[in-house]
Structures are given as structure tokens and as C-alpha cells.
């Protein structure tokens, strides 16, 4: 059983993320007295983290394949808006419309990257802009609120003491871990991220796999949006503005790299947990909003800078084998 757990969440190779998460946990438990450790607050943190988790999983999958997805925030927000806006048709239809939108954005990203060969961060920046435009046109910048009671369960409900979105996030994490680790698709993604050209020469259909990775990211972001809409029972155009940076920071803390070929779902979970605990703790400590913004920005700069330094070092060591970075 322990071995199975280790395999699923790959804790062994995520010591850094585990260490960061544990350090933040300990620091907050000490700094806030007992407020942080109250059951209500812990439930609050896990709920928030579970809502962010699907987006971070999607970003991690794209990063593993050597890409980058900046459209996750806009996709998540638009999915939340659609999940609320289409409730006149019933909760199931609304959910599928939202997930369908995520699929469409992911497919657009995939096509732009694999067929039009636009570098990922530029392509996804473009789709992000278009998605935001669609969102503004659809809502006229008015907030929407939901009407269906039962829809709120997946975001705001609980099974006993366990928040419902946590169950969703853990099941998703398990499924995606198995997929990345044990299926041909997952192994191919690591190969493509590690060295695209070698992967191509080894007979992997690089473009098809990359396309699938972007679609997965789109659908997972949309799922995050549906959960968020269910939790808030409303949606506004302001949702998801910080999400690309959060997702990227969390994925990089979790061991993924902008150079591709690295990262695990378990690491991503630890990364998003660390950032979620930090945000919650800063709120509890009464840290001003602008200081929190600065702290988040500093974390992003730190992880992106460290990733670049480590990545360039590794590249220099394996000079000649030279990985082709997509970003």
C-alpha cells in the first residue's frame, strides 16, 4: 500500500516541494497561534486548494511536454461563466458546455502550437485575449449568479467532514498520476519535453501528443472553473486574472520545469497546497493586499529564475544532447 501511494504521488522525487509545503505549514502554525490549525480553517484551506488543483494539473501536463499555457485563467473564468449562464438548461448541460469551451480553447492552443508553429506562450497569450473578449461580450461585464441548488454541492458541499472538491481533486490526481506514469501517452509527454527531436526520431507522433496535452490543460482548467462557479454560485469577468501566475508558480514549485520533461501530479498538488496555505496564512496574519501581491510576484520571479539557472546548468552539462526548449 505504501509503495502504491509512493508511486501514485511520487513523493520520493518531490522532496523540495514537500519541504516547502511542510515549512510553510509549520511556520504558519507557529505564527498564527492556533487559528491556522482550527478544523474550520483547515477545511477552508483544503477547499480552496482543491478548487485551484485542476488548473495546476493542466499546467503541469503542458509543462511536462515542454509547453506553457497562459490561457488557463481565461478558460477557467469563461467556463465558470458558462456553467452559471447555461443553468436554464440544467446543471448537466451547463457543465458540459463549460467543459466543451475548455476543450475548444485547448484545441485552438494545440493547433496554433503544432500546426501554425507559434511558440506556446505567444499562442496561448492570443487565445487568452480572445477568450477574455468572448467573456466581455457574453456577460457585458455583469456578474452572473446561479439558480440551481444541487449544482453548489461540488464546490461548496461536504461528504461528512471532507469537502466535496477535495474528493474530486484527489480522484483526479490519482487518475492523472497513473496516466502520466503508466500509459504510453504519459511516457511520451516526458520524452517530448525532454528532447523533442529525439522523441520524434523515436517514432512518437509529437504533434498529436502536444495537441492532446493542450486539450487536457483546457479541459482541466474548465473543470476548475466549473468547481469555482459551484463554490461561489456566481461568476464574474474578474475571475482567474491571477490564475496563470498561480498555476505556473505552483507547478514549478512542484518540480516541473519550463525546459520540459520534468514534473509530477503529486508535486503539483504539493505546490498548490504550499501556495494555498501561504495565501490563507497571510490573510490570517492580516498582511495587506499589496504586500500579498508583492510576495506572490517575488515567489514567481524566484521560481522562474531558479528554474532557468538550474535548466541552463543541466543543458551545459549535457552539451551536444541539447534539449530544444519550446518556450
Amino acid at each position: 500500500m505504501r509503495k502504491a501511494m509512493r508511486c501514485l504521488f511520487d513523493v520520493g522525487s518531490n522532496q523540495v516541494a514537500l519541504l516547502i509545503a511542510a515549512a510553510i505549514f509549520a511556520a504558519l502554525a507557529l505564527a498564527t497561534g492556533r487559528t491556522f490549525l482550527t478544523p474550520e480553517n483547515l477545511e477552508n484551506v483544503t477547499r480552496q486548494v482543491s478548487l485551484d488543483a485542476p488548473v495546476v494539473f493542466g499546467e503541469t501536463i503542458v509543462l511536462i511536454a515542454g509547453g506553457l499555457d497562459l490561457a488557463v485563467g481565461a478558460t477557467m473564468a469563461m467556463a465558470a461563466i458558462l456553467a452559471i449562464g447555461f443553468q436554464g438548461w440544467g446543471a448537466t448541460i451547463a457543465t458540459f458546455v463549460a467543459l466543451g469551451f475548455g476543450f475548444a480553447v485547448g484545441a485552438a492552443n494545440g493547433l496554433l502550437v503544432t500546426r501554425a508553429r507559434i511558440i506556446p506562450f505567444i499562442a496561448t497569450l492570443g487565445t487568452m485575449s480572445v477568450a477574455r473578449g468572448v467573456m466581455l461580450t457574453y456577460t457585458h461585464q455583469q456578474p452572473l449568479s446561479g439558480a440551481i441548488e444541487s449544482f453548489a454541492f461540488w464546490g461548496a458541499g461536504s461528504l461528512g467532514p471532507v469537502p466535496a472538491p477535495l474528493i474530486v481533486a484527489l480522484l483526479l490526481a490519482a487518475a492523472l498520476s497513473v496516466c502520466l506514469r503508466y500509459t504510453r501517452f504519459g511516457r511520451n509527454l516526458y520524452a517530448i519535453g525532454g528532447n523533442r527531436e529525439a522523441a520524434y526520431l523515436a517514432g512518437i507522433s509529437v504533434n498529436r501528443r502536444l495537441f492532446a496535452a493542450f486539450v487536457a490543460s483546457g479541459v482541466l482548467s474548465a473543470l476548475g472553473g466549473v468547481l469555482l462557479a459551484s463554490r461561489l454560485n456566481s461568476a464574474t469577468v474578474q475571475l482567474g486574472n491571477d490564475t496563470p501566475l498561480l498555476a505556473l508558480s505552483a507547478a514549478l514549485i512542484g518540480g516541473a520545469s519550463l525546459f520540459g520533461g520534468r514534473g509530477t501530479i503529486g508535486g503539483a498538488l504539493l505546490g498548490v497546497l504550499a501556495l494555498g496555505m501561504l495565501a490563507n496564512g497571510l490573510d490570517l496574519l492580516g498582511v495587506e493586499t499589496y504586500h500579498q501581491i508583492a510576495i506572490r510576484a517575488a515567489i514567481l520571479i524566484l521560481v522562474v529564475g531558479a528554474d532557468a539557472l538550474l535548466g541552463n546548468l543541466a543543458k551545459r552539462r549535457s552539451a551536444g544532447v541539447g534539449a530544444v526548449s519550446l518556450t
Binding site: 496554433l112 503544432t114 501554425a116 508553429r117 507559434i118 511558440i119 506562450f121 505567444i122 499562442a123 497569450l125 492570443g126 487565445t127 487568452m128 485575449s129 480572445v130 477568450a131 477574455r132 473578449g133 468572448v134 466581455l136 461580450t137 457585458h140 461585464q141 523533442r196 527531436e197 520524434y200 526520431l201 509529437v206 504533434n207 501566475l245 505556473l248 519550463l258 495587506e288 493586499t289 499589496y290 504586500h291 501581491i293 508583492a294 506572490r296 510576484a297 517575488a298 514567481l300 520571479i301 522562474v304 529564475g305 531558479a306 528554474d307 532557468a308 539557472l309 541552463n312 530544444v324 526548449s325 518556450t327
Partner: protein, 343 residues
């Protein structure tokens, strides 16, 4: 304008990337289409400008009036100043997404300097210095770590935003020097706004520096092939630092013009200028892959965006849908850019 480069001059990593994934010839890889794409890429902006002006002349009575044309120039001059700095940076194969918040921050710092008793020259100098410092920070972070400039400057963008919030606590501050407001509101001969003159003057100066000086040429080499530049004895790191600082200073200039126009500070005054300045540069023919572009090209790119905006407003297109149009234009332009680059 810089001399035309042959298409075969690509950097190693991208020629590598294009050596696979071409199982059979496609229509958009055919010579005809590439020729079209190349012409479009090199002269998109001029072509679009002519089309938009013709459309505008036929669809609206007021479009071609001198008053409307001057209005367009007035409206685009701030974006133009930012885009010129962005162009210099793009040529070295870097980006600056922090301009959005630096614009707001510089406005606040300038007004704070005035409240502290500094005059016109002093407060403007403090504002420009703030921009230069942010440019230097961006340069240090990007050049020393070799990290993706896009993500690093997204981080410093948030830092600048946090700084402007903490300086004002979200309050609005008002300028105290009347001469300062003249920068934004005054007109030369009662006709042309100062900001338009600043924009055109800056464009001409940068065009000269970029195409006629060793420093300017080293910017292109930095973007095309940094290793070759270094081996040829050029100061590549210096060129990158200078480009980052220049971009920070132009963003500061834009922040000063906006603040002088409104006479007050808004922390989010620069929202959207990050994206728009990149679109304007790329539309004008500056490549996202470095080594190609120029200041005058960017002027045309900025004018296209300005005329398009003006047309959409005159034709009563809802403001929310304009974002979609902008995103699609952006994707079309970068697609043409990548296509010519890769195939």
C-alpha cells in the same frame, strides 16, 4: 529601415525545430503562399493602414476630417511611445510585460515628487529615473538568470503594481505644477499636441540610433545570434541592459504624459499597454524572434491600431467585442511571423 535579411538567417534552435513534423507538403508551405506571407509580414501594416483608411473614408463622413485624424494621432501617441521602447527590446529578443504597471507607478511617483515640492524638471526626472530603475531590475533578473523574460517581467509587473498600491493606498493624487499638465494638454501652434511631437521625435531618434550606430546594430545582432555577437567583440549583455532600461524609460515617459493629461494619478493607467505595445510592434513588422524590426515600422503599426480603434468606435462596434478583434489580429500577425521564420 534596416536592410532586408535573407530568410535563411535563422538561429540554430529554430532551424532544428523545423527539421521534423513535415511529412508531406501543405498548401501553406508552398512557395506561392510563403511569398504572400512574406510580403504580408513585411508590409502588413502599410497594407492594412491603406485598407482601413479607404474603408473609413467611405463608411464615415467624419473619418477624414483633419480634426478626427489629429484625434487619432493624439490617441495613439502614448501607446506609440511605449511601443517604441518595446520594439527596441523585441529586437534583442526580449519582452517587457511590466510596462503596464510601471506606467501607473511612474505617474504616482511623479505626482508624489511634486507634492514633496519638486518642480517640473525635478518631478519629471524622478519619474524617468523610476522607469529606468525598473528597466534595470528587469535586465538584471533576465540577463543574469537567462530566464524567460516574459514571465520575469510578469512578476516585476505585479511588484510595480504592489508598489503603486502601497504608495497611494488606492487614493487618487492630483498634480500641483500647472506647467507639468501642459505636457499632456498643450499644443504647438494650437494644432498639434505635445505628446504627438514627443512620439514622432522619439521615433525618428530611435530609427537613427538603431540603423546608423554601432550600438543600434549590436541590438539586432543580440537578437539574431548572441554567440556570434559576443565572438565579434560586441557587448551583448550591455546591449540587453540598455534595451531594458530604454523600455523602462519610454514606459515612464508614457506614464508622465498620461498623468499630465488627466492631472491625476490612476494606478491602473497602463492596463493593456503591455499586450498592445507588443501587437503594435509585431504588426509593424518587428519579429518576436528578435533581430528584425525598426522604429518607423512600429509607428505604422501603432497607426494601424489607432485607425482600427477609431473605425470600430465610429462604426459603433461594441467595446467588449473589440478585445476579440484585437486578439484575432494578434494571432494572425504572429502566425505570419512564425510561418516565414520556420518554413
Amino acid at each position: 529601415m534596416p536592410p532586408e535579411r535573407s530568410n535563411s538567417m535563422t538561429t540554430p534552435s529554430f532551424t532544428k525545430a523545423s527539421s521534423f513534423g513535415k511529412p508531406f507538403p501543405r498548401f501553406w508551405h508552398s512557395e506561392h503562399f510563403l511569398k504572400l506571407a512574406r510580403t504580408l509580414r513585411d508590409h502588413t501594416a502599410v497594407f492594412l493602414l491603406v485598407v482601413f483608411i479607404v474603408v473609413g473614408a467611405f463608411s464615415s463622413d467624419v473619418f477624414l476630417t483633419p480634426r478626427n485624424l489629429l484625434n487619432i494621432m493624439w490617441a495613439v501617441s502614448v501607446l506609440g511611445v511605449v511601443a517604441l521602447g518595446q520594439t527596441v527590446l523585441l529586437v534583442t529578443r526580449n519582452f517587457d510585460m511590466s510596462v503596464a504597471s510601471v506606467i501607473g507607478l511612474v505617474g504616482i511617483v511623479t505626482v508624489l515628487a511634486q507634492l514633496a515640492g519638486l518642480g517640473l524638471v525635478g518631478s519629471v526626472a524622478v519619474g524617468l529615473l523610476t522607469g529606468a530603475v525598473f528597466g534595470l531590475i528587469n535586465g538584471l533578473l533576465v540577463v543574469t538568470t537567462g530566464a524567460n523574460p516574459f514571465l520575469i517581467t510578469l512578476g516585476t509587473n505585479a511588484l510595480a503594481y504592489a508598489a503603486s498600491l502601497s504608495l497611494t493606498h488606492s487614493k487618487t493624487l492630483y498634480t500641483t505644477v500647472p506647467a507639468f499638465n501642459e505636457i499632456g494638454r498643450g499644443k504647438i501652434f494650437g494644432v498639434v499636441n505635445h505628446s504627438v511631437i514627443i512620439f514622432i521625435g522619439l521615433a525618428l531618434a530611435l530609427e537613427f540610433v538603431m540603423s546608423r550606430t554601432v550600438f543600434g546594430r549590436s541590438l539586432y545582432v543580440t537578437g539574431l545570434n548572441a554567440t556570434v555577437g559576443r565572438l565579434s567583440g560586441l557587448n551583448i549583455r550591455g546591449a540587453q541592459f540598455a534595451a531594458f532600461i530604454l523600455c523602462g524609460v519610454t514606459a515612464a515617459l508614457a506614464g508622465i504624459i498620461i498623468t499630465a493629461r488627466t492631472g491625476s494619478t490612476v494606478g491602473t493607467a497602463g492596463a493593456g499597454y503591455d499586450f498592445d505595445s507588443i501587437i503594435a510592434s509585431v504588426l509593424g513588422g518587428t519579429s518576436l524572434f528578435g533581430g528584425r524590426g525598426g522604429a518607423l515600422r512600429t509607428v505604422v503599426g501603432v497607426l494601424v491600431l489607432g485607425v482600427l480603434n477609431n473605425l470600430l468606435i465610429l462604426l459603433n462596434v461594441p467595446i467588449d467585442s473589440q478585445q476579440i478583434a484585437k486578439g484575432l489580429v494578434f494571432l494572425a500577425v504572429v502566425w505570419a511571423d512564425s510561418l516565414v521564420r520556420h518554413v
